[in-house]
């Protein structure tokens, strides 16, 4: 029996993912450069589609490309993707940054005090650190509109909980390992939570149902109770402003 090569030595590496998808891997590590190239390839394929390609899924270090084998065969698609990758230029000039208002602490900030104790810093310092960083959306996955954010300051890296909580509300601001997150839908989670945003990352009734996509930037802006309450009302009424700036 032939066993597949355990140590692919060269990237980019192409692999079948069934008979209706291929994956192009640019690395087996997480890095911003790799992710930029993944996102650039996905955007390139959006602008100039390859016949038979149905959709693409950018992740940390690879791009999943699903296709219709009645239109294009996997083997041919692999060749086309390699060719396309060689022509892709990474353009970060067009990046945009979402400013996310956050009410730190309170009922949603389940782990804020404990984290501050673990880190031997005051909650105000922790909040300032979290709020000063520039985050990048490496990928959307796990749940509708759930963004994996890179760029969390090292001092805030914190292991996930051993036992996940059964329900965390949408809008909860989380930390899991080296990553930051904004909960997009309610559900179980083993991440740590330090606050909440009234803004909905995912709302199927909104014309732009998903706020973030891979390659976007995010920063957090601390708000107080009264602004959070006003934003809650605006979100409920469908009139909440979405605050974008150039990254």
């Amino acid at each position: 029996m032939t066993v597949p090569d355990p140590m692919p030595s060269a990237y980019p590496r192409l692999a079948a993912n069934g008979d209706r998808a291929v994956v192009i891997e640019l690395s087996d590590q997480i890095s911003e450069d790799t992710n930029r190239r993944v996102v650039a390839l996905a955007e390139n394929l959006d602008r100039q589609p390859i016949a038979g390609v149905i959709e693409t899924v950018p992740t940390y270090r690879s791009l999943l490309v699903s296709y219709d084998p009645l239109i294009v065969r996997g083997r041919d698609l692999q060749v086309l993707l390699l060719e396309r990758l060689s022509t892709v230029r990474v353009e970060e000039a067009r990046a945009r940054r979402l400013v996310v208002p956050v009410l730190y602490g309170g009922d949603a900030g389940l782990d804020l005090n404990e984290m501050a104790e673990m880190k031997r810093m005051g909650t105000a310092d922790l909040i300032a650190l979290h709020g000063a960083a520039d985050y990048r959306v490496y990928m959307i996955g796990f749940a509708p509109g759930f963004a994996y954010l890179g760029g969390l300051p090292e001092a805030l890296h914190t292991p996930r909980l051993a036992v996940p909580r059964q329900r965390i509300e949408a809008g909860a601001i989380g930390i899991g390992g080296k990553q930051a997150s904004i909960n997009s839908v309610a559900g179980p989670s083993g991440w740590r939570f330090i606050g909440r945003t009234p803004i909905r990352m995912f709302d199927p009734t909104r014309s732009d149902a998903f706020l973030l996509k891979a390659g976007d930037h995010v920063r957090f802006r601390a708000i107080e109770e009264d602004e959070a309450a006003a934003l809650d009302a605006a979100v409920a009424a469908g009139t909440a402003p979405i605050d974008w700036e150039d990254a």
Partner: protein, 325 residues
């Protein structure tokens, strides 16, 4: 407006169409039917478009009534179907009149059944599809499974219901026997010779830990020599991922769009419905094929299905005389 009322519902009944395309990158998998061919045939039997929505049920059907005459068909597997107590056949169209009660029992040789009504279920589409994504609470009726008392709006039928000739499946889609075919997965190399030998030479049991999201298999535990954690990447329906427990999990229609477990293999599309429809407790074996071989099988299946669907249309009978197997 036309509607169907659910009087009694099996445990996992939901509205489905062909599924949602274009949102995997946003974290929303396609959802859609567990057995796509059965959905397509059910729709064609009642004169619907392939993209129309219908009711999918797991194992047990339910009881239904309608406000206006409609045409219905039940597909997926062998099941007892009665209209006011009178038995009618599956894989065929029938008329249901106001005041009559349609009862669908338990599937005896399959897991997923399909109940189509002429005009299709007209719940509000979400992100371009009526498919229910139970895990995310999207689509279908309020994003949830159906319960007694639910009323589903139906569209206007394309055919004149009471005068329409009956449509009957006389040429079933052949369902191959033998092992389930798989293609090496993106992390096939994480598994050494011993794991691959177990995977390909020993049988697995289709466990009762199954739903629209995933199917857990019981059998030899598969150890990933290369580790059970990877940098998360994209998944497809049919991805076989192996967490540290060593128990393979096959991702199905409502899968998570990305995952951090190594994927040893992917089930060939042509064999996905066989796995979905395999009775709990049954044994399956895997056989390795190349991506190109799996594509060939899928292309051949797509052509066969087109022929089967065309045979269901009124007037197609003469052409298919003797085609019954």
């Amino acid at each position: 407006m036309r509607s169907v009322v659910v009087l009694q519902a099996g445990p996992l009944m939901s509205v489905q169409d062909l599924g949602r395309t274009g949102y995997v990158r946003m974290g929303v998998s396609a959802s859609g039917p567990m057995d796509e061919a059965a959905l397509r045939i059910a729709n064609r039997l009642v004169g619907n478009a392939q993209s129309d929505a219908l009711i999918e049920f797991a194992v047990t059907g339910g009881r239904f009534e309608v406000g206006e005459p409609v045409c219905f068909a039940v597909t997926g597997g062998a099941v007892s179907i009665t209209v006011d107590g009178e038995r009618v056949d599956g894989w065929a169209s029938h008329v249901l009149l106001p005041g009559q009660v349609l009862h669908i029992g338990a599937l005896t040789n399959a897991v997923w059944g399909y109940l189509a009504f002429s005009g299709g279920v007209l719940t509000e589409p979400v992100l371009g599809s009526r498919s229910t994504h139970l895990r995310s609470g999207l689509g279908g009726l309020e994003g949830r499974r159906l319960v007694p008392g639910d009323a589903l709006p139906l569209g206007d039928p394309a055919d004149e219901v009471l005068d329409a000739p009956q449509r009957v499946l006389r040429m079933p889609v052949p369902r191959p026997a033998g092992p389930i075919r798989v293609i090496d997965g993106p992390q096939a190399g994480h598994f050494d010779q011993a794991a691959w030998q177990s995977f390909l030479r020993e049988p697995f049991v289709v466990s009762g830990s199954r739903d629209r999201m995933a199917q857990i298999l019981e059998g030899p535990l598969l150890r990933a020599a290369g580790g059970h954690d990877i940098v998360s990447d994209g998944t497809v329906m049919g991805s076989i991922q192996v967490p540290a427990s060593g128990r393979p999990i096959v991702l199905m229609a409502e899968r998570q769009t990305t995952g951090g477990y190594p994927k040893i293999a992917t089930i060939a599309s042509v064999d996905l419905p066989r796995l979905a429809q395999a009775m709990t407790g049954s044994l399956i074996r895997f056989k390795r094929v190349t991506q190109a071989q799996a594509e060939d099988l899928w292309i051949a299946r797509a052509r066969t299905l087109e022929t089967v669907l065309a045979s269901l249309d009124p007037g197609a009978d003469a052409a298919n005389e003797g085609g019954r197997s």
